[in-house]
Amino acid sequence: MQTWDDRQPIYQQLAALLAEQLIDGDPPEGDAMPSVRALAGQYLLNPLTVSRALQALGEDGLLENRRGMGLYVKPGARDRLKQAERRRFLEAEWPRLRERLRRLGIGSEQLNWEAR
């Protein structure tokens, strides 16, 4: 079972999870999102919670409603998400990481950039 933490409302956590999958191309741009019922069954969530998550993604400009056909991944959604993730990394994560690297005395030449 998917576990949810206590930090954010569950619909936001689901929206974040679905956004991560969109970055990975699942589903690809232009394709239909899974239905509310399918997602509800998959994550064992009330359909209203799923609807709220999809609505949040729609408000972020990632999904579009095609009348009578449901929600589709908007062209350019992956780029938008990646941009937002990069901004978040550079603004929030990087300063903390840089601080930690400095404190530990680790320079960029000591970091292995090749390993997978």
Partner: protein, 303 residues
């Protein structure tokens, strides 16, 4: 909300209760309870043993004498009980089926008993379980009996399903299949489910609304969406515990985001100076349950 709107909502509600009271002698098992259940909801009925959950459920299907206003699917449960049970199901215990019967016997029996039962649908649902049509109930595990029972129930074209402790005594896998069936078969936007359980943490994400009973009284009736907005939980350092306490939280407990952290749950948003002392977290249903019913028998460690 204006009056006509309110009327329209209560008219379309599957359950409408106002000032509902059930007495057992001098004791009020259900005490002046008012709520509505619209269509398409999954409502959790929470309360400690003896809080009145079963009595309330029985009243909804006309099995307990209730005072006050009560309409279920637009009907009077006591007077119109037979008609009501065409489209409402009450399952007091999902783990009980006659041991001597074969599963296909039960399907035949249900077809004869219940006009809105679909044998095809029951068979379709059973295919997704490990229960065979030719199996006798006595050879099935408890979890399989529940799956069989739920398949039979889900095959009734009912608009309201009332389940009393459906997960009692089930192992985690059986509970999971129960939750899957609940979401897949019952959450179609039309049917509603009222479900009582002690498995609060597991069921929280499946619910759309919660009714909380304490000693017969309804202490909370709220949608999960509104719950997120109304209650504020703050995870904070132990060193600011006194300031938090001074702001009158509903509940405080050890644990939270950090190692030596505490969590305080407030009804409504506390003042900014208090908000700034902690990190806002999601108030869990278990926390609220503990806070509003004040019986520390759940698994959180309390002050």
């Amino acid at each position: 909300m204006n009056a006509p709107q309110e009327q329209a909502i209560s008219a379309s509600a599957l359950v409408h209760a106002k000032g509902l009271t059930v007495r057992y002698g001098a004791k009020r098992a259900v005490d002046d309870v008012s709520f509505t259940i619209p269509k398409g909801r999954v409502v959790g009925l929470l309360g400690h043993n003896g809080a009145g959950k079963t009595t309330l459920m029985k009243a909804l299907v006309g099995l307990a004498n209730a005072e006050g206003e009560l309409r279920v699917l637009g009907k009077h449960p006591k007077r119109d009980r037979v008609a009501l049970l065409q489209s409402a199901c009450y399952i007091p215990d999902v783990a009980i089926l006659p041991r001597w019967a074969r599963v296909d016997d039960l399907i035949t029996l249900m077809s004869g008993l219940h006009p809105s039962f679909s044998a095809e649908r029951a068979k379709g649902l059973l295919k997704r379980t490990s229960v065979g049509l030719r199996d006798r109930v006595k050879v099935l595990s408890k979890g399989m009996v529940v799956q069989a029972h739920l398949a039979l129930v889900a095959a009734i074209d009912a608009r309201l399903m009332i389940l009393d402790e459906p997960t009692l005594g089930l192992d985690v896998l059986s509970r999971k299949s129960f939750y899957e069936m609940l979401i897949d078969e019952w959450c179609d936007g039309e049917r509603s489910v009222l479900i009582s359980t002690h498995q609060v943490e597991e069921i929280e994400t499946l619910l759309s609304d919660v009714l909380m009973l304490n000693e017969g009284k309804l202490v909370l009736s709220i949608s999960l969406e509104d719950m997120d907005r109304r209650f504020v939980a703050l995870s904070h350092d132990a060193s600011v515990a006194d300031e938090m306490a001074a702001a009158h939280p509903l509940l405080r407990y050890r644990g939270g985001a950090g190692r030596d952290s505490r969590t305080s749950v407030f009804d409504g948003t506390p003042p900014d100076n208090v908000l700034s002392l902690g990190q806002r977290v999601r108030p869990s249903l278990v926390d609220l349950f503990v806070a509003l019913t004040r019986k520390p028998e759940l698994d959180r460690q309390h002050f």
